[in-house]
């Protein structure tokens, strides 16, 4: 890990596009992740008028761009051995590719065509609409994924909890010109980040980025108006075999100095198999197959999300044990060996990330978005090493004063604690 500092470089193009590169000596592959400030949160619609411009546009740009029609574009990516994805998220639209190092430049050229020169043929929109509507229906058939989408939507103020999948009303109604307007406002270099990692020559990538993206004109960022959401207690009736349970607690955001504490609390509660939720809910009581907590961190807001699924007749006990464990963590704090275990897991994760160019490229872009810089791995390790049993316990104590969003999905509602 000692040499990682020198391998990370960044360069800001005149139009605002940020390039962050990391050379990885042990891999033959290379990968890039491009984040565009074009997530679902930047759609002009709302939950009533309908959403889905981000996901439909992300699909549209791959259906022919630059000199290639849709078939040639996918064939050329295949021939470059490029595993690729173009996806909308809440905050960004992401284009990601992993391939052999020698093919990365050619894949980046295709990416530039998709971002800057997509064909956007009208006739492609109805097939995309049909595809996106079906994806929404498939999401309805996946209770474990559905409940997390619905939880985030209720917990974060709109637009920050929007599902990237859009809404059926929005996807059904959006016209090609509305999608074009969404793209021209939000596919912009100022606010975009390109993370590149793996077997690369940083100088070559920098020159290529200038050549491909240097003439891309910036656009003014759009104002985003926040609206409160909710309800904080809710149930979605569904005839399922298992009742889904999901909780969201406000947490220190990813740019805050307390983010290390927030991540530590979430990991110690439910980040691995010796963590408290797995131990108490599954190992000791056999109440569920899956139970976890995870830190969902954006730059300006974050949550700790907990999720479990259990048969309806045992779901109440599952929820009660989860809430009881969170209360115990807040009240009693953590033990020194829990802190050590959390650090050991983190140390492994940081070192093993060096084996995957795609996860490093995503981390480079994500770090830049949250912090405006990339943390060397030593700095992340030092941030966690600086935590103490007392500091984590004090941070966990705040959970007692936070009112969670609680959502269940299943045949019958559960008894939820009253809203504070």
């Amino acid at each position: 890990m000692a040499s990682s500092r020198s391998r990370i470089e960044h360069h800001v193009l005149a139009n605002g596009l940020v390039l962050v590169t990391e050379t990885m000596p042990s891999v033959r592959s290379a990968a890039f992740t491009m984040l565009l400030p074009a997530g679902a949160a930047h759609e002009s619609g709302n939950a009533t008028t309908g959403l889905g411009a981000a996901v439909m546009t992300a699909e549209w740009i791959s259906r022919g761009a630059g000199p290639r029609d849709a078939r040639a574009l996918l064939a050329d990516l295949d021939n470059l051995g490029a595993s690729h994805s173009e996806s909308a998220q809440t905050l960004h639209t992401s284009l990601a590719v992993a391939t052999l190092g020698r093919n990365l430049g050619a894949a980046l050229e295709i990416c530039a065509d998709m971002v800057l020169r997509p064909h956007l043929d009208d006739e492609a929109v109805d097939p995309i609409r049909a595809l996106c509507l079906q994806s929404l229906k498939s999401l309805e058939d996946d209770p474990g994924a559905k409940i997390v989408h619905e939880l985030r939507r209720r917990h974060f103020p709109d637009p920050w909890g929007r599902s990237s999948a859009g809404t059926p009303e929005g996807v059904a109604a959006l016209e090609p010109d509305q999608l074009r307007a969404f793209r021209s406002m939000n596919y912009r270099p100022n606010g975009a980040i390109l993370g590149v990692a793996g077997a690369i020559d940083p100088a070559e990538i920098r020159a290529l980025a200038e050549q491909l993206f240097g003439n891309w004109a910036p656009q003014p960022p759009q104002d985003v108006a926040e609206h409160s959401t909710g309800p904080r207690r809710d149930h979605i009736p569904r005839e399922t075999q298992q009742t889904q349970i999901a909780l969201a607690y406000p947490a220190a955001n990813a740019a805050s100095p307390d983010a290390y504490l927030a991540r530590a609390v979430s990991a110690i509660l439910g980040g691995y198999s010796s963590a408290r939720l797995f131990t108490e809910v599954r190992e000791k009581r056999g109440l569920c197959y899956s139970v976890y907590s995870t830190y969902d961190g954006q730059r300006d807001r974050a949550a700790m999300i907990c999720h479990a699924g259990s048969t309806p007749e045992r779901a109440q006990e599952t929820l009660d044990v989860m809430l009881g464990e969170i209360a115990r963590l807040a009240h009693d704090g953590i033990e020194p060996d829990e802190l050590e275990t959390m650090r050991a897991g983190l140390k492994s994760a940081l070192v093993m990330a060096q084996e995957s160019s795609i996860s490093r490229s995503a981390a480079l872009a994500g770090d830049w978005y949250c912090l405006g810089r990339v943390r060397p791995l030593e700095e992340i390790a030092a941030g966690f090493n600086a935590l103490t049993t007392d500091s984590v316990s004090e941070h966990a104590a705040k959970l007692a004063r936070l009112d969670p969003t609680i959502l269940t999905l299943g045949p019958a509602p559960l008894k939820q604690p009253p809203q504070s």
């Binding site: 000596p25 042990s26 033959r28 592959s29 259906r63 849709a70 078939r71 996918l74 064939a75 990516l77 295949d78 021939n79 470059l80 051995g81 490029a82 595993s83 391939t99 052999l100 097939p127 995309i128 049909a130 595809l131 079906q134 994806s135 229906k137 498939s138 058939d141 996946d142 209770p143 474990g144 569904r238 399922t240 075999q241 298992q242 691995y272 198999s273 010796s274 797995f278 131990t279 599954r282 190992e283 000791k284 056999g286 109440l287 569920c288 197959y289 699924g309 048969t311 060996d337 050590e340 275990t341 050991a344 897991g345 140390k347 492994s348 070192v351 093993m352 060096q354 084996e355 995957s356």
Partner: protein, 412 residues
Amino acid sequence: MPFHHETLENGLEIVAELDDRAYSVAAGFFVKTGSRDETRDLAGVSHFLEHMTFKGTPRRDALAVNRDFDKVGARHNAQTSEEDTLYYVSCLPEYLDPAFDVLADILRPSLREDDFQTEKQVIIEEIRMYLDNPMSVAYEAAKSAHFREHPLGNSILGTVESIEALSADQMRAYFQNRYSPSNIVLAFAGASSWAETLELAQRRCGSWEGPPANRFLSPAAGTRQFQSIKRPEDHQQTIVGVSDAPPLESNLRHAASLLAAILGDHTGSRLYWSLIDPGRADGAELTYQDYNQAGAFYTFLSCEPESVVENLKTIAEVYRPGVNLDLSELELAQAKNKVLARAVLRGERPMGRLATLGFHWMYHRKYQSVEDELELYSKVTREDVEHVHAQWPLWPPTIASVGPLTHSAPKC
């Protein structure tokens, strides 16, 4: 990359592909047992046993197993398939000794009665979780109908009833018969030395005992049955098709993989252009699964209920029964480039290499490097792919259709 292998006196085989440049090391026990080795009264025991190993040993209870893995930051898990149970760990090289201590320890579990009863509830939760997933329901139904009496059609998880009826004694007897050292391959991949891995294996596994285990290998031939399962609450219709394919012993398996990629990869394949690109389905794939002396092509489709009949007709056209594929060199090259790059990317991480290394040794008794694998794919010709397509007809497959619509078998 240096490769080593050794067989301990008790029959346990050890293979290792070591790489100084890796940041981590992975270890895995590949136990040659799965749902196909179960009798009807034991349905689900292989998978339940996989869970029970983590519930403790004479040296550790369940909480200590989890704690001892986690305190060295070791990523650990296990998986059970029709024919194998794999236990694996990956960790930083300096923690291989303590992490492997736990992994080897749990392969000789206590199988205590109270743990058995608690974990039974977890297994039932897992079964019910998958009952909420239409693709899992369709997959189980299609596999069961396709293989009918053949044990490859057995459910990996079992049913709520079979799990409730199972006793700890039945599981202990199954363990005695199937977890013999001679029925297990131990593989290491990544940053370690042969001296270290061999010493660990001898120290932790040298005293293991057990009788030789057999697998009953009968020929499998699919039934091509059709069934429709109504789930009125579902929004989409979900279809799984199964047809016979070359077995893992066949030298046609790379051609079979490429055939599946050409016709049904999730992107850029013939199914993609016929069904996904025009927005007629949100999932359409063909995959190849090889088994010990058997093989299967699996077709997956997710679409609106009202388009299912028409979409199945399109799949039949894409599969071109009885006619050649009209395959161009360009199309084959594209599939190869895609499959080869995925093999390289997967092989970059010790965890990615581990499964390939262990399974290949178990069934082929041979080492295959990433370069060897690339070479085997590169050598496949259009004629090979056409040959697989002609010899192993994809259409009509055994079909399970799950969703709000009940319909009849496609007429094509």
